[in-house]
């Protein structure tokens, strides 16, 4: 027995610390190991608990984040000077580059434990946290009612295409401060030469495949798309047709179907025929995947990709611009975004209204418009201001450590205006590969098929079995 206890001690240890804390009762400060948040006590008076009583002391909001962000520090300082009755305690994790992964793990498990015990921070940046699990166990507060009740908050001031698409059902649990655009970069001139017409705002992957075939047969560049590898494209296409392969309510996967092996074969054929290629890093293809981090980054990235394209075809690469990534057949038309720096309010927080007020402050135009931080601001006015500033500037210096080595980049106003429709049209949220287990599975397992080592059916069966395990846990 003693021996065996090893096996379950991990689970029980967790239980000990947590239930132990709860058992010892109420408001007592019980330190959860690894979590230096003391919970949500009032620093001066423990009496004014529910926020209604005028505070003698300050109300304290604990804000936990892994990444160090100067923006947070600045915002907190400013907010505290505007609201003398509020104290915001920023808890960022002390990580080093050398031990980053271990530090992240440490932060995640400490925060998980604290959240489960109901002793977590009031406000937390969820970028690296398993917030899906938090939502599943109702540990996060729904921000929608807070937004609706707040008369000073106008949802239309923000990019609702992003906000509405990070919802879970009807509830909004995570508030992104900024986002990236995920799309294709392509040279308008080179594409026009092929004479192929398409509407990238509404194309699905199968539309794209047709377009791609037409483009390569026109005799210009050898490939239509440069992509990491067939397994990634397959993963992408499965996520795009998710409902075709996975039925989460019935807990059933359909990867052993002919449509999945068909898709695998289709992807392989496209790579075999060179329509999609993983060599050449995009220089020899009409499209390549890009992530655009900000208006400034848009101009710079397009410049860099254009130069790379020139290495392959001298006359191309002068008119690079962003195209929307094809979307799934059974979802609505539009491009893709990826949120950056999202926060959530703990469902167990005693200072939810105060925390929301601070979030709102972080979302305000003044806080969001400085172009010093990465990401497109979620605030529309701040975005407009950034564009305007950039146009006024006329030119800016590229990143010193980037491929352009600090060369000046001219601001192309027309190009920036073209960005609008993409910023407003991105409606699909891109998840991290590792947060999406099934996608990770498909990517690792299908590699053997694309390398020609296993049959499509054998791989499909493997994926099917594992997918069923994941879905039925």
């Amino acid at each position: 027995m003693n021996k065996y206890a090893h096996g379950i001690v991990a689970s029980c240890l967790l239980a000990l610390t947590l239930t132990g804390c709860n058992g010892s009762g109420g408001e007592n400060e019980v330190k959860v190991p690894g979590n230096n948040a003391g919970g949500t006590e009032n620093s001066a008076s423990a009496a004014s608990e529910d926020g209604a009583t005028p505070a003698v002391g300050k109300k304290k909001i604990v804000f936990s984040t892994f990444w160090h962000d100067a923006k947070y520090k600045a915002a907190i300082q400013e907010y505290e000077s505007l609201h003398p009755d509020i104290e915001i305690k920023l808890e960022d994790f002390d990580y080093t580059d050398a031990t980053l992964e271990a530090d992240m793990e440490k932060y995640i498990s400490a925060t998980n434990t604290a959240m489960l015990a109901g002793k977590g921070p009031d406000l937390l940046e969820v970028d690296i946290l398993p917030f899906d699990s938090y939502i599943k166990h109702s540990l996060l507060a729904d921000l929608n009612p807070m937004m609706a009740q707040d008369k000073h908050f106008k949802k239309s001031d923000y990019f609702t295409n992003v906000l509405d698409n990070v919802r879970v059902g009807e509830s909004l649990y995570t508030m992104p401060f900024s986002f990236f655009l995920m799309g294709f970069a392509g040279d308008e001139g080179a594409i026009a030469k092929t004479g192929v017409k398409f509407d990238d705002h509404s194309w699905s992957w199968s539309d794209f495949m047709k377009t791609a075939k037409a483009m390569t047969t026109s005799g210009g560049l050898p490939s239509a798309l440069s992509y990491g590898g067939p397994e990634y494209l397959l993963g992408e296409m499965v996520s795009d047709n998710y409902s075709l392969f996975v039925d989460p309510d019935e807990r059933k996967a359909h990867f052993d179907s002919a449509s999945f092996t068909g898709l695998m074969k289709q992807v392989k054929a496209m790579f075999d025929e060179g329509i999609v290629s993983k060599i050449g890093r995009g220089a020899n293809a009409y499209f390549r995947s890009v992530q655009i981090n900000s208006p400034k980054d848009y101009l710079e990235t397009m410049k860099v990709t254009g130069l790379e394209m020139k290495m392959f075809a001298k006359e191309d690469g002068d008119h690079m611009r962003l195209y929307a990534k094809p979307h799934a057949q059974d979802t609505s038309a539009g491009g893709y975004f990826k949120t950056y720096r999202s926060v959530a309010i703990s469902a167990n927080s005693k200072v939810k209204p105060e925390a929301w007020d601070f979030v709102k402050f972080m979302l305000s135009e003044d806080m969001q418009s400085p172009a010093t931080t990465t990401g497109f601001p979620i605030n529309k006015a701040a975005y407009a201001k950034q564009i305007e500033e950039l146009k006024k500037q006329g030119a800016f210096k590229s990143a010193q450590e980037g491929p352009l080595q600090g060369a000046m980049i001219q601001v192309d106003g027309e190009m920036l205006s073209g960005l609008d429709s993409y910023v407003n049209g991105a409606v699909h949220s891109t998840k991290n590969d590792n947060s999406d287990k099934l996608r990770g599975l498909i990517i690792t397992e299908s590699e053997a098929y694309f390398a020609g080592q296993k049959t499509a059916e054998a791989v499909a069966n493997l994926i099917q079995n594992k997918a069923m395990t994941v879905l039925n846990e």
């Binding site: 027995m1 689970s11 029980c12 240890l13 489960l116 053997a448 296993k454 395990t469």
Partner: protein, 284 residues
Amino acid sequence: MRGDGMTFLLFLGPSLIGFSMFYLIPFVLGVYASFTDSAFGGRLVGFSNYADLLHSASFRKAASHTMLFTAIGVPLLLTLSLMLAVLLNQALFLRSWLRTSFMLPLVVPVASIVTVWQIFFDWNGTLNAWLHELGLARVDWMQSNWSMSIVVVMYIWKNIGYDMILFLAGLQSIPKDYYETASLEGAGRVHQFRHITLVYLTPTLFFVLLISIINSLKVFRETYLLAGDYPYDRLYMLQHYMNNMFFQLDVQKLTAAATLMVGCIVVMTYGLLRAERRFRDNTE
């Protein structure tokens, strides 16, 4: 006597406190948590977590794979380690060296060995390269029904030394005169083995069986390091399920599964100990 009691407590205290702190109390709390809803400090919900758990097809799959593994691995391990013990109990060239070498897997850290195994059994690994050289079709060792045999081999490799030592101790406690008398009366080797060795080794056998079963439930570490959190179907065992539940913060299912597993082990241990007692009563 009072002084004795104090000394007793003094010596036992530290380990008792440690045991309660890290094993007993957490386990009791875990059992409690398995009867509550949502995270911690939830309401009591009776057996609904257990119902959910048994409803989960993956849990049932994991449990059956665990049983299958134990059913294959333990008898094999017992047979092999007993054979080895009998062999090494005789005068043999380099005997003490051989004994030591079989103990080595116990002290080698698993993580360091697993990398070698991984390279060896990978789809593009060493073993398949050899097969290819010999003109044979390669086998996807970790992603086919072969995968369980590999874990069985690993389990045997890891535990054979330990079991062997236990058996050796048992063998050496059998008086030599029994064998001498038997051989004087003309009993053959097989006969001696069946009627002397096995009979007098039975108490040891029960103990080794118990330890081996419990060790077979701990093979997770090797499997996890070898094949990750979602291995090939056959390798997906109870600890995988619990591990994945832990990472999904599903404390209810996790504690319910752990409680259920402990329940089964307690029942099994009780049964084994009773069988052993009955056996001893019968022989005496």
